[in-house]
């Protein structure tokens, strides 16, 4: 690909296996150099990375190679270059969250998920761009400029993990970590033509993930294939003593479902018939469903009426938690501080005014209002009760089906700037993804063809809580179908 050394384009398991095999000439250092060179060459066009961490990657690669040389196992991700969304902490590397408010802040400790990937042998090549504090669906809300879609640089890559999605789609890194609060892994994965997975809430530690909405946030893998994404998930998952919301999930129990006789849920409320521009995505859904039925799967038609409330519920719960999570950015202990604050109130208000971008302020206002005296019952509490009812509807649904298949996004990528002045239109982009966060479900998006203008579409597989393995199993079947799976973008110049 691109005339570069193509070892970086191998499946992750094979790439790592060659690195672990000390008789094979492929080394971690070589993979890292290839990745850094691709970033150097390509990223000017995409803006996927906020920061390259060449020194760190080389150091980690040298350690992996030394282990392999010494006959120790450097791990299942040995030498695999990893792009890390810049809302995950890497000690010593500035952490921006795509925001000015963090200033020159340098975290002292690791995000657990990143540390686990590194312990498995992955090498961090850089920190990727995102919507500020992961709030957005286009990566246009970054204080450091937008990221562009490798399949068409006039288009958004989706968001908020747009930098990670573009990094993987363009071949700069085979693996990336993202975070998904309302679709922030799956939606950019779909729009960039890669695989992105939101694990069951609690499967992956949130320690070191800068909180957006704590009850919805989940770190997850982004990769070119389900197998690669699964390898990264397996490296990062598991109970973490530093995150009280992590739970141990029994991976063995996932394989109880016979893939030859799956009941494939179709949720009436996810239909895109009335959505302008929704036809290609709807057609893609029908195509993969038909293909699945040919393998012996059966159709389960379901109605989850509360899915229709998921955007309002999400846009109350997430901003409410965010308004509290972002209170710590006050200019006292770290990050940006406004000059010459006359008194404390002034210092706070001006620091936050200067440091936060427009979308973040908008969500802080929505969330503060939703929690405020006199309105909390009608908004925050009502939203939480509705959320619980939605979860109950999903529980019932998964008694009637094994997985749900839907589109990931109603439409393909839109043009940069197209929805910038219409926040509500932007929020409505998340209609097919937020319910998984509200219900804590695992869901994976896999590429499923392109639109006439050559922009990728994604299909999403949803499973019951804890059944992340099943979701991958089904997604792998989809990925193998004609016209599905990862395709490298045409190099745009």
């Amino acid at each position: 690909m691109f005339g570069f050394d193509d070892s970086l384009d191998l499946p992750v398991a094979e790439m790592a296996q060659r690195v672990r095999d000390k008789d094979n000439p492929l080394t971690a250092s070589k993979l890292v150099e290839t990745s850094l060179l691709r970033i150097e060459t390509l990223d000017a066009a995409y803006g996927a990375f906020l920061r390259r961490t060449g020194d760190l990657a080389r150091e980690q690669a040298a350690a992996v190679d030394a282990k392999a040389e010494a006959g120790e196992d450097p791990g299942p991700l040995a030498g695999v270059p990893l792009a890390v969304k810049d809302n995950l902490a890497v000690p010593g590397v500035p952490l921006t969250c795509g925001s000015k408010i963090l200033g020159e802040y340098i975290p002292p400790t690791w995000a657990t998920s990143v540390k686990r990937a590194v312990d498995a042998g992955a090498c961090i090549v850089g920190k990727t761009n995102l919507d500020e504090f992961a709030m957005g669906s286009s990566t246009e809300n970054s204080a450091f400029g937008p990221t562009r879609n490798p399949h068409g640089t006039a288009f958004v890559p989706g968001g908020s993990s747009g930098g990670s999605a573009a990094a993987v789609a363009s071949g700069m890194a085979p693996l990336a970590l993202g975070s998904d609060t309302g679709g922030s892994i799956r939606q950019p994965a779909a729009l960039c033509g890669i695989t992105g997975m939101k694990p069951t809430y609690g499967r992956v530690s949130r320690n070191g993930l800068v909180a957006f909405a704590s009850s919805l946030d989940q770190v997850g893998p982004m990769a070119r294939s389900c197998a690669d994404a699964r390898a990264l998930l397996e490296a990062i998952e598991g109970v973490d003593p530093l995150d009280a919301t992590t739970r141990g999930y029994d991976t063995a129990a996932q394989n109880g479902v016979d893939l030859g006789s799956l009941r494939i849920g179709r949720v009436t409320e996810f239909a895109l018939d009335d959505v302008p521009g929704g036809e290609p995505a709807q057609a893609a859904v029908e195509r993969v469903r038909s293909a699945l039925f040919e393998t012996g799967a059966t159709d389960a038609e379901l109605s989850l009426p509360l899915v229709q409330a998921s955007i309002p519920v999400y846009y109350l719960v997430a901003p409410a938690e965010a308004s509290s999570n972002l209170a710590r950015y006050d200019g006292v202990r770290y990050g940006h501080r406004a000059e010459g604050g006359a008194d404390l109130m002034d210092l706070y208000a001006r620091t936050r005014e200067e440091g936060f971008g427009e979308e973040v302020k908008r969500r802080i206002l929505i969330g503060t209002f939703a929690l405020s005296a006199g309105y909390a019952d009608a908004y925050y509490k009502k939203a939480m009760a509705t959320r619980a009812a939605l979860r109950a509807q999903f529980d019932s649904a998964f008694a009637e089906c094994d997985v749900i298949v839907s589109a990931t996004t109603p439409t393909c990528a839109f043009k940069i700037g197209e929805k910038a002045d219409d926040p509500l239109a932007m929020y409505l982009c998340d209609v097919l993804t937020v319910a998984a966060n509200l219900a804590g479900l695992p869901a994976v998006s896999v590429p499923c063809g392109k639109t006439a203008e050559g922009l990728p579409l994604g299909i999403q597989v949803w499973g019951p809580p804890g059944r992340d393995g099943l979701v991958f199993d089904v997604a792998e079947q989809l990925e193998a179908m004609d016209g599905c799976g990862y395709e490298a973008p045409e190099v745009t110049s």
Partner: protein
Amino acid sequence: MDIDETLVRHVAKLARLELSDDEVTGIAPQLAEIFGHIDQIQQIDVGDMDPATQDPITLEGLRSDEPGETLDPRSILRNAPQHDGAFLVVPRFFDEEE
């Protein structure tokens, strides 16, 4: 829900955001539109649904009282916008100010 500029200013104050007049003027109709959409949840009857989203944990799951590592005060001060070598420094405030 009617969201006007007065309400936006009140909420901005609670959230410690100093919005300019232009920002208030710009954001009020946006919030009004967003809440216009959000208000559909008022029509939903979820009965007396328990809003808890997480299953409880038991005492065995808690942390034992063993001291861990502390942050090096130098790293704290390095990240601090203003300090005096030991304390973080902020404009003078009074203890009942909030």
